[in-house]
């Protein structure tokens, strides 16, 4: 199953949803005295915003370790939002969007601890925001 990646790093563990923002159109509109209509200067597009939602997952023997594991996983993903790296984003359909930066990576809900036989799973819903620059 394709999972969206940024700079070849998976953005979420499971259940990846992607919301593609609109391409931003760059244009300058003016009105001219005595002339009907508007004067438009078109300058192409300037990228788009992309929102990725999903779930991060970590497993450990105890609830406390599972919580520590999921927080470490979250901080690791948040390191993608470093304000420096421009990379490729690959979407849930495998399409590549060039020249993206991660602008925001946050948990959107509470940690869910799910105990099993000898293992405790920790999951947390997350949301990443990317900006395509061109």
């Amino acid at each position: 199953m394709p999972t969206p990646t940024f700079n070849e790093t998976r953005l979420v563990s499971r259940a990846a949803q992607e919301a593609l923002g609109s391409p931003q159109v760059r244009l300058q509109l003016d009105t001219l005295p005595g002339v009907h209509g508007r004067y438009a200067q078109l300058h192409g597009t300037s990228g788009r915003e992309i929102v990725v939602r999903g779930v991060l997952h970590a497993s450990s023997p105890s609830p406390a370790e599972a919580n520590a594991g999921i927080k470490a996983a979250l901080r690791s993903k948040q390191a993608l939002a470093d304000g420096a790296t421009v990379g490729d984003y690959v979407g849930t359909d495998g399409v590549t969007y060039r020249h993206c930066v991660v602008t925001d990576y946050r948990a959107t809900g509470e940690v869910l601890l799910s105990p099993g036989a000898g293992v405790c799973d920790a999951m947390i819903p997350v949301e990443a925001r990317l900006s395509q620059l061109v």
Partner: protein
């Protein structure tokens, strides 16, 4: 989820926060778990459908509205003796009980009654608030 809902009838020696609670007809405990559900863009079925932490709450039905009213802000352990289906007496203790609502019923030629709803908290986040000895 071994015990999703349990009704204790035939209870005696009921105490709440150290106070005696006479005339209890029934104590019901329900247990629910929080859930996390999610699916991806190309999933036909939910990719994440997990049950998480327990929420334990319940109700105490008793005959005396005055006692229920007096204990409407009680907080502490709820303990009682319950005779199980095999006839064995067992002591049930529910830790960290907080009363959240009290409904009083009284009317002409009507048996008075009261229902107290409660929440139960775990002492350490890992221990089941309900213990049966």
């Amino acid at each position: 989820m071994s015990e999703p809902y349990q009704v204790f009838s035939d209870v005696t020696d009921v105490t709440l926060a150290g106070e005696s609670l006479p005339g209890v007809r029934r104590i019901a405990v329900s247990r629910h778990r929080s859930t996390l559900r999610a699916a991806g863009d190309e999933d036909l079925y939910e990719r994440v459908a997990r049950a998480g932490r327990w929420r334990v709450e319940g109700e105490i039905d008793l005959l005396d509205p005055a006692i229920a009213k007096a204990l409407e802000s009680a907080r502490g352990s709820l303990a009682f003796t319950w005779r199980d289906s095999g006839g064995t007496s067992r002591v049930v203790t529910i830790a960290g009980v907080s009363i959240v609502s009290t409904e009083l019923g009284a009317g002409h030629r009507m048996t008075p009654s009261a229902r107290m709803s409660f929440l139960a908290e775990s002492p350490d986040g890992a221990t089941d608030p309900v213990s049966v000895a």
